[in-house]
Subunit: 249 residues, 2 copies
DNA sequence: ATTTAATGTGTCAAAACTACACAATAAAGA
DNA sequence: TCTTTATTGTGTAGTTTTGACACATTAAAT
């Protein structure tokens, strides 16, 4: 960014991405710390005039995580008139990160398309900060730092969307490594739903969907009985998602 | 519209509304016929710079239906680079509906926030066309006319969102009149889901949710046995929706 | 060898769902 | 007025799914 040919960008439009990862039994999101500020922000960016909004989101994702081919879902446009303040732009300007011309750009009224992304945590070895940020880190959902603007609501809405999509999108497939154990899958579901589930009933149900395949290997190295490793059967998974896992109607 | 002080409007941003109604056992949507064209369009509008995008949608709804207080849900931003062609603007311009200045406005690249609205059909006695359209009519979902731009996909996506929300939003309450019969409620569900349901099992399940109240009256005038009239118990309904009707997790 | 804590598996009762059939009735037609 | 017709109200039996449990197994740590 910085010195953007303003004519190339769609005015007053941005994308923000809630990038979910799953690690050590917890859901985490990737956040940026703004230069010279305490507050953190969702990774985001602007949209070129000739670019799909989805493409802009893919671009942002690749810039932060180094990954292409990420599961990405747009869930809502955030369009409150008062949602974007100019405070952070002023700070960036004062500290020399923004020149006059770019400052004016940042002081427009913005609407932002909210995306959530599901990534395999281990594949994001070195998340990269953008030009305006000094750090890029994973934060667990339960202990988030202060977020700028309305990014808290964007994040809450992303989680709500993720819950709503749980039976219709390849959530497990996208967040877990290729091989995983049943307890790991359960922890993922518990983290997303925010409540604990019965171990035995969970397994029965999951296996009942017919989308899992036991590899025959076990995960060694844990302090206790070694759990079986599973993989998703992708065709069956996709198939089952069409009508929704365990959907009632 | 026409002669809009361009400075007041958010550039390249519009809203489009899929307004659902339920009548004679069929789901219908309210469409506008563009002046001088065969194609029809979803009711839509632009967004003032000082206005929430949601407010713009409410404004559009009121202008077409005369109703405030409509159930309204934003489900997605449509942001493909090539989604808005300038063809219809040219036609409008040629026929004298658009002057040079407004034509330029219409030739921008637009992204559009998709909303769906649920209205009680009988309350929309006289839908009103807007400045650019020659008619405003209800069309049944099964037999839609040709739609301009990407409005077909907007509509399809709205229906998909409605299905996804069926157990989480007050769909029945918003689409049906205050009093309704069990067969009517079932027809509504069948229309939304696009499949038929067993009469007896449907009733058992609905009553099981504890959100319906039998008024004690029957609907007279039908050619056959008079069905009971029901109302929703709104508090119980709202309550039940929070965790989702019949949600499995 | 023993301990520890997690994993794998099974069972029983309750609830929900599926697939049905038959009685009641409001209006229309004979 | 009586019969016909199509729709609504209601119930039940068999099956499946769910919820709430307990006990045996095992990999590492002591």
């Amino acid at each position: 960014m910085a010195k953007l040919p303003l004519a190339d960008w769609h005015p007053g439009l941005s994308v923000d991405c809630v990038i979910f990862g799953f690690h050590n039994g917890a859901l985490k999101v990737l956040l940026l710390q703004m230069q010279g500020m305490d507050k953190w922000a969702l990774p985001g960016g602007f949209v070129r005039k000739a670019e799909d909004v989805d493409e802009a989101a893919v671009r942002v994702l690749e810039e932060r995580t180094g990954l292409k081919e990420i599961f990405l879902e747009q869930y809502r446009l955030f369009g409150q008139a008062g949602r974007s303040t100019t405070e952070h732009a002023r700070v960036l300007h004062q500290n020399g990160w923004l020149d006059e011309e770019d400052l004016a750009w940042f002081q427009q009224r913005f609407v932002s398309a909210g995306y959530y992304a599901l990534v395999e945590y281990s594949k994001v070895s070195a998340p990269r900060a953008d030009y305006f940020s000094s750090a890029c880190e994973w934060w667990p959902l339960e202990r988030l730092p202060d977020l700028m603007l309305d990014h808290s609501s964007l994040l809450d809405a992303a989680l709500a969307a993720l819950r709503l999509h749980l039976n219709h999108k390849p959530v497990g497939l996208s967040l877990l490594p290729e091989q995983f154990t049943m307890p790991e899958l359960q922890q993922l579901y518990e983290a997303i739903l925010g409540k604990s589930l019965d171990r035995r009933n969970f397994q029965r149900r999951m296996l009942g969907y017919g989308i899992l395949c036991r590899t025959g290997e076990r995960r060694r190295g844990g302090a206790h009985k070694a759990p079986w490793l599973y993989e998703f059967e992708e065709e069956a998974y996709e198939q089952a998602l069409q009508s929704g896992l365990g959907s009632t109607w």
